[in-house]
């Protein structure tokens, strides 16, 4: 490795649970989120949305709305004919046909799901634009809707009539001899595994403020991807990209739902340019539930074969993925992300994932926390438990027998994906230090005799993170039309303070703290003097944003490398000043000092002062500022072992999570407190999915769960306290050895919860059940099993 090879692990600040640098502004109400920002002359936008799931727009009468006082304009899709391109879908896999009908910020001629935008009202007051929007009269000719993706496979109605099909695409990832694998199997289990539709539901809805003036556009948006947004704003509006500046202010949660280029972002910019005034749109929660992209919604047919001793011989999955009404930025890619890890942490000779993507008259789906990997893990881990039961094997024993042994890493799995590092037995051993399974089984049996049903479930997972090596994701690889490297720029000021510009764009993760810890150790300063600037395309270099648990493994490595260049330059300057050899200069916690003579040295401020005065070695540029672009060689593969214990009230079907233990391995910890926080949130997110949350459409395509009244986001009363622990297996891919933790909890937890509920219910004859494990569904399963027994 280059100049940056002095690994910071175990440094003064790296590895410590430092309090967050972000928090003082957040706990005092001084942060600035999108709706806290205003500019003089700003107008408000309110969007008229379709109440129909599928309809032809017969007419739109905007006259009454226009006459309202304070209303500046009302626009419909026809007014926006000058857009240079429709909304983007950035995944075009080589050799695969993807049906991708045009998708516009305002509907043109037809609406395809409830909430589809039809018109926008621009006016002077937050409330009055809403009044005026209610005066827009839209006449619809209702068309039949389709909401069941499996029904959509075989017949109409068609969401996009001109296609003559509801199929978006088919894509397969396969490796190994599937036929031989199943022929070799003594037992084969097949299950229909449903991963129902959920909402991202960040507590801050989306919002955008566009200010076009004098040929330049400044746009604030609650986004995870300011640079992607800038690119597509430029393309759709026909502007040169450098004339567009996108700023992500404080972002109130994303969970993937703000990894998008949304119609409203384009719409606000277009309106601002059209009217010559700033335009702001703030999403309501009801809008968010109808139109912010949703997640999951995959029906999988899993088939797993094994020998009598539990050795898995083949795993085949056919996924019907419900994409809703349109392809958004990465929609067709999401199930494929799961396919990359469909073998889980097991040595399986043949693995195949067949995906068919379907249009339905529902809100589009795209990346939501985990994005394909929670679904894949659920398919694997639930099917594996079913297989264990079939074979009469302990669920942990079957896992251990199939784990990829640690000697195999880097391990190429059947699909050709190369896992960077892993030690799956170690995390499971650590889990079992916390969970005494034999004692649990004894307790379970005793309770069962008292009519109390308690169950334990496990999930051992690996995931694919560190998005991404550009050679893999780029056009020649799997076909995402973007290199997914990351950048950093480090500026040391005369004062010795440091400003770091990152291309990643946080929304709660704690980048400002974690990155500052890394830089502080490299430069021998306190993290308090290291400021991390993010989410502004007008300040730092080109970047790629925050999603897919990529920040530390790509953005952190870029920060580390850029800072490494500063260190090298600083050493040369100090050596020059002190007449020593650069290789004899070392960074202590206070200064750049001569090895063996710690009293001889310069502080970072002194180095910077020298660099800016220009008293540097001959041939060296003055100044102390460096940039690094880091493109990883491979993905990274975090892993872990989770256990969940539930109590099921068989009278009501109510499931209570009594205990949840998570042992995760994301490589060396930069800030353990932040890791725990990510695990807590991720697990809670998936407990929500497993037990409570579900986006429901009726068969007419009407959205039943349109607010937080009927979409059951879990509260503090439904979620347990968590027990977390870690193992640390470094990745060989980056200098920090780090992997990523933002999605791990989400990826593991639905399977652990589901397996626990099934474990609890087996004595009652319930051997399999699909999420969401609501009281009603569990109660019905129990009743059905009783009926079966008595029949």
């Amino acid at each position: 490795m280059s100049a940056t090879s002095e690994a910071p692990a175990g440094g003064k600040h790296v590895g410590q649970s430092l309090r967050r640098k972000e928090d003082p502004r957040l706990i005092t109400g001084r942060a600035r989120y999108i709706d806290d920002i205003g500019v003089p002359g700003m107008l408000w936008a309110s969007i008229v949305r379709s109440p129909e799931a599928h309809a032809r727009i017969v007419s739109i009468d905007t006259s009454a709305a226009r006459e309202r006082p304070g209303v500046h304009a009302v626009f419909t899709g026809e007014d926006m004919a000058d857009l240079e391109a429709p909304l983007p879908m950035a995944w075009v896999p080589p050799g695969v046909e993807v049906n991708n009908p045009d998708h516009w910020p305002l509907a043109r001629g037809a609406v395809k799901h409830v909430g589809d935008p039809v018109a926008v009202v621009i006016g002077e007051d937050r409330y009055r634009v809403v009044d005026a929007a209610a005066d827009v009269v839209v006449e619809y000719e209702t068309l039949p809707a389709i909401t069941d993706p499996e029904a959509a496979l075989h017949s109409g109605p068609f969401v996009h009539e001109q296609l003559g099909t509801n199929e978006v695409h088919q894509w397969t990832l396969a490796g190994g001899d599937m036929e031989a694998g199943f022929a070799e199997a003594d037992v084969i289990v097949e299950r229909r595994v449903v991963n129902h539709r959920t909402a991202g539901a960040p507590i801050e809805p989306r919002g955008v403020l566009a200010d076009y003036r004098a040929g330049s556009l400044t746009l604030w948006s609650s986004t995870q991807v300011p640079h992607f947004l800038r690119l597509f704003l430029a393309i759709l509006l026909g502007m040169s990209e450098e004339r567009v500046r996108v700023i992500a202010p404080e972002v109130g949660g994303g969970f993937g739902s703000k990894l998008q280029v949304y119609g409203e972002e384009i719409l606000a910019a277009w309106c601002s340019r059209k009217l010559g005034l700033p335009v702001k749109w703030i999403e309501t929660r009801s809008e968010n539930m109808a139109v912010a992209h949703q997640g999951r919604d995959q029906i999988a047919y899993t088939k797993m074969g094994a020998k009598r001793d539990g050795t898995i011989t083949a795993f085949h999955v056919r996924i019907v993925a419900d994409f809703g009404a349109y392809n958004m930025l990465l929609t067709p890619m999401i199930p494929s992300l799961g396919a990359f890890v469909m073998g889980g942490c097991y040595k399986i000779p043949a693995v195949q994932t067949d995906i068919v993507g379907m249009f339905t008259n529902k809100c589009p789906t795209d990346a939501i926390r985990g994005a394909g990997r929670p679904e894949a893990t659920h398919m694997i881990e639930v099917t594996l438990d079913q297989l264990a039961a079939e074979l009469g094997l302990d669920p942990l024993e079957i896992r251990r027998r199939n784990f990829i042994p640690k000697e195999d890493f880097p391990a190429e799995v059947a699909t050709g994906v190369i896992y960077d590092s892993g030690d799956y037995d170690k995390t499971l051993d650590k889990l079992l230090e916390h969970v005494d399974v034999p004692a649990f089984r004894r307790e379970q049996e005793e309770l069962s005799s008292q009519g109390i049903y308690r169950g334990i479930g496990f999930a051992t997972y690996t995931e694919i993170c560190g998005l991404a090596p550009s050679r893999v994701t780029g056009p020649a690889g799997v076909g995402v039309q973007a290199g997914l490297w990351e950048s950093a720029m480090v500026r040391v000021h005369n004062t010795g303070a440091v400003t770091v510009y990152t291309g990643t764009s946080p929304h709660g993760q704690g980048h400002e703290t974690g990155f500052a810890q890394i830089v502080a150790d490299q430069l021998g300063v306190d993290p308090s003097v290291v400021e991390i600037v993010h989410g502004d395309t007008g300040t730092g270099p080109e970047g790629r944003g925050t999603y897919g648990s990529r920040t530390l493994a790509t953005g952190g490595e870029a920060v580390f490398r850029a800072t490494g260049k500063i260190v090298e330059k600083a050493k040369a300057i100090v050596a020059h000043q002190l007449e020593a050899a650069p290789e004899d200069i070392e960074v202590t916690s206070e200064k750049f000092a001569v090895r063996g003579s710690p009293e001889k040295g310069l502080t970072l401020a002194e180095v910077a002062g020298t660099a800016y005065i220009g008293d540097v070695p001959v041939g060296m540029e003055p100044g102390l500022e460096e940039v690094a672009f880091y493109d990883p060689e491979n993905f990274v593969f975090p892993f872990g072992a989770h256990a969940c214990i539930v109590d099921v009230d068989v009278e009501t079907g109510k499931v209570k999570v009594a205990r949840y233990v998570a042992v995760d391995d994301c490589g060396p910890a930069v800030n353990p407190m932040l890791i725990d926080g990510q695990v807590h949130g991720g697990v809670a997110h998936s407990i929500g999915q497993a037990l409570y949350e579900q986006v429901v459409y009726n068969s007419d395509g009407q959205l039943v769960t349109g607010t937080f009244v009927n979409y059951a986001l879990p509260t503090a009363a439904e979620i347990p306290s968590f027990e977390t622990d870690r193992t640390e297996t470094p990745s060989p891919v980056n200098s920090l050895g780090v992997k990523g933790i933002g999605e791990a909890g989400t990826i593991a937890a639905t399977a652990a919860v589901t397996n626990a509920v099934i474990d609890a219910l087996r004595p009652l004859g319930v051997n399999y059940i699909n999420m969401p494990l609501t009281s009603l569904r569990v109660w019905e399963a129990i009743e059905e099993a009783k009926g079966g027994a008595s029949a």
Partner: protein, 168 residues
Amino acid sequence: MSPITAVRLHVNGVEHSIDVEPRLLLVHALRDHLGLTGTHVGCDTSNCGACTVHLDGRAVKSCTVLAVQADGAEITTIEGLGQEGNLHPLQEAFWNDHGLQCGYCTPGMIMAAAALLADNPDPTEDEVRHGLEGNLCRCTGYHNIVRAVLDAAKTKSSTFGDRPEVTA
């Protein structure tokens, strides 16, 4: 056009007189008229609690109160609870315990927790969890929020003996 009404609001110890439409929500009066943007809006059905403030000493969801209903009332928002250098024990505990990530629910969560501790200065974990049922968080899984509230209660229980008071 709705008639305009004059409303007097005592917010964080400062008296304001503003002219509002009767339908104006208190949260928008605080945010858009008084510039107190620490109070957030996360839903339109009074479920999320991001807009929680104290109205005459009681926690209310300010999206569910009209500004005219708050005429003459004493209101405390997150900005009035404590400031940098003079943090309220709950703010300190949320910081120490990593009780927030994106921070959007945090002001409402802290205001709800302050009211909870005023009513029950020494709650059990279960009481904290049920006491905060009206406030949603998507980031933290509540684990560290609950810990922060319990820690705040433990370290500074005397602070919560009275109803939360406004300090000018």
